[in-house]
Structures are given as C-alpha cells and as structure tokens.
Symmetry: C2
Subunit: 186 residues, 2 copies
Amino acid sequence: MNLTPLIQSFVLHFGEMGSRWGINRTVGQMYALLFVSEKPLNADEMAEALGFSRSNVSMGLKELESWRLVKLQHFPGDRREYYSTPEDVWAIFKTLADERKKREVEPTLSMLREALMETPANEAERHAQARMGQMHDLIDLTTSWFSDIQKLDVETLKKLMTLGAQVQKFLEFKQKLSFPRVSEKE
Amino acid sequence: MNLTPLIQSFVLHFGEMGSRWGINRTVGQMYALLFVSEKPLNADEMAEALGFSRSNVSMGLKELESWRLVKLQHFPGDRREYYSTPEDVWAIFKTLADERKKREVEPTLSMLREALMETPANEAERHAQARMGQMHDLIDLTTSWFSDIQKLDVETLKKLMTLGAQVQKFLEFKQKLSFPRVSEKE
DNA sequence: TTGAATTTTCAGTAATTTGTGAAATTTGAT
DNA sequence: ATCAAATTTCACAAATTACTGAAAATTCAA
C-alpha cells in the first residue's frame, strides 16, 4: 500500500470499522480511499494503491455501486472508468441510511407485520406477538421520523441538531398551547 | 429447533439481520429468543431450543453481556443462571446505541482528530484532511445530537418523533424571535 | 469486423470466523 | 473439605466469506 501514513491510517481504520458493520474490509478501504482522493480514480489505480488484485477491486466497486455510494465518470480520450464519492458528506449519509432502510428495516417490518397477523396458538405465542408489536412500533416510529428529518435541507438539519435537547422546550410550549389554562400538574 | 413457526421465523430473521450488522448469527438468534420469551431462560434451555451446543450458548451469552443487552437472574433453589432482556424496548435501543458509540464512534472520532493534527505533507494530504474534517464534523454533530435526544424521557421522545418534520416550523419561529422585524429574505 | 484495452466472471484457494466436544474451572450445598 | 452441578475455556473442525488469477465478455477505436 503506497499511501502516505496519514491516508493509510484513515483507510485502514475505515476498513476495520466497515467490517464491524457487516461491510467487507477491503470494500471499506476502497471507499475510504475514494473519499479522501483529490481526483477520481480508476480500478487499476485503486488496486495499485491498496495492493489488491484487479478482480477484487472490480467486485468491490460493484458492491459500492449497489449501495449508490460511488459516482462513475469518464475522461475524454480515456476509456477507463473513474470513480469518486459525492462531495457532500450529508448526502452520503442520507444515501447510506436510505439503502440500509430499504435492505434491512423494511424487510424486518414486513416480517413483524406478518407475524402479528397470525392468530397466536398459545400463551407463549401471545406474549411473543406482544413483544414483536413493541419492536415493530419502535422501528416504525424511529424510521418514519428519521425519513421526515432527512427531508429537511442540510442547513435546517444542522440548526436542529445544534439546538439539541432544547427541542424539549418547544414541546412543552406546544403542550401549553393545546391545553391552555390547565393547571401545571404533569 | 423446537419452536413454533411464528417464533422460529422471528428468531431466524433476527439472526440473519444480526449477521448483516456484524453480529454473529447465532448470537442474534439467542437474543431474539430471549426477547420474545415469557420467562427468563437458562443456557441449557436456550441450547435445546435453538439446537446449539452448550458451549456456543455460553460464549454467545458472554457476548450479549458485554453489550449489556441481557439481564442475569437467579431463582431460589436453582443454581443455574437465567437470562432475559429488558422489557422496555426503548431502553434496549439506548443501550445498543451507547455501546456502539463507545466501541465504534468514539475511536473513529479520535482517529480523525489525530489525523487532523498532523501537518499535511503535500496537496493530497491537505485535501484528505479537509475531507476527514468534514466527516469528523458530521459524526460529531450527529452523535452529540443523538445523545442529547436520548436524554429525553421516552414519552417526550415519542411526542417529538410523532411531530416529525414539523420541527422545521419551530426553527422558523425561533429564527424570527432572534431577528425580529428583519425583512423576510432568508 | 477486428483486435487491443478494459472490465467482469468464476472456479479454486486462502483466510477468517464460527461452532463443537472434551477438559478445566468455578460454584455452592452438604 | 468434598463433590456434583453448572459454567467456561480452548484446541480443533466445520462453515463461511474473501481474494486471486485465468479466462470470458464487453467496449470502442480504427
């Protein structure tokens, strides 16, 4: 791996983290390399920089494309394909969240909903369904909220986050508007 | 696996999902089994229900304990250890988030901060640092916001989520308070 | 069309991760 | 202290996943 120590440590860390999140280590490294690269890279450059076989890079890029995490482009007079990552880190984050939602959250919600349709055969199943219901509601609420939030433009999102737990005050305020003049209890 | 089809499909799905998130499939299944179980289970019961070896269950439980995802308890006159999951799904979610933050997010932020301290040796490194800075800020903002939000009690949290993107209105409102009487342009 | 450049596929191997059974350790009742 | 019950450890085997090189397929310029 002929990268400067600075970039190398980033690439290696990212590969390591990737593997903890169910992403192949070398794919994580490829992504990290593209992320910090000044200019788009072709597969040979990546294979060379990371010390992987050309075919491994090809498969890794396919994987990254399926996650919509890389952009493909061409340069005039050069047949090779050049890859890069979007510049906007928030956009990247959103893409990743969307894709995980589609691949993991939605199938899980479907499975839970189907299980909840069944008539429980005994007390154990009745209890299991109650638990699945709790899990379903948590996932459902969390992810719909998340996609709501995602629709905000980045600047609004940043403001919201910077505000942090202050939002609580807003909720209290809203509460008062809905039930004016009610005593302070609760 | 001598479980009813309803419970079995939940357990299997959960194992599958676990493995996509970097969690050993059998550990995922063990967790799922405990999650839907009416009463705490001991290791032998789990091994029996899931068809795993006793030693595999032992290691899986250690793993789950390290994530603080299971509760251990004893019953009078029984030396064996019984495991269960917390009843409150939101509490479970928070534990998981805390643990992932500690294990993955914080080390990543440290790595990024260290990289950002270095003096860039050339233009490529300068650019890489800029990118790492962007990533650092996103992770930092997102996670501090998340831990702020997490501090809210569950009821408030639910209200907030139910509100969804309406929060935007709050932000606009706040904006007006900070700069009253300024013309409407952005 | 031909053929060189480029990318993809895939069968086989390598590496890693997971699971097991037997042995060792710990626990607690007597 | 002793011993059986319970749990943990760990070396090995099994299973899964990742990587490679060679061959096949695709692309595009001439």
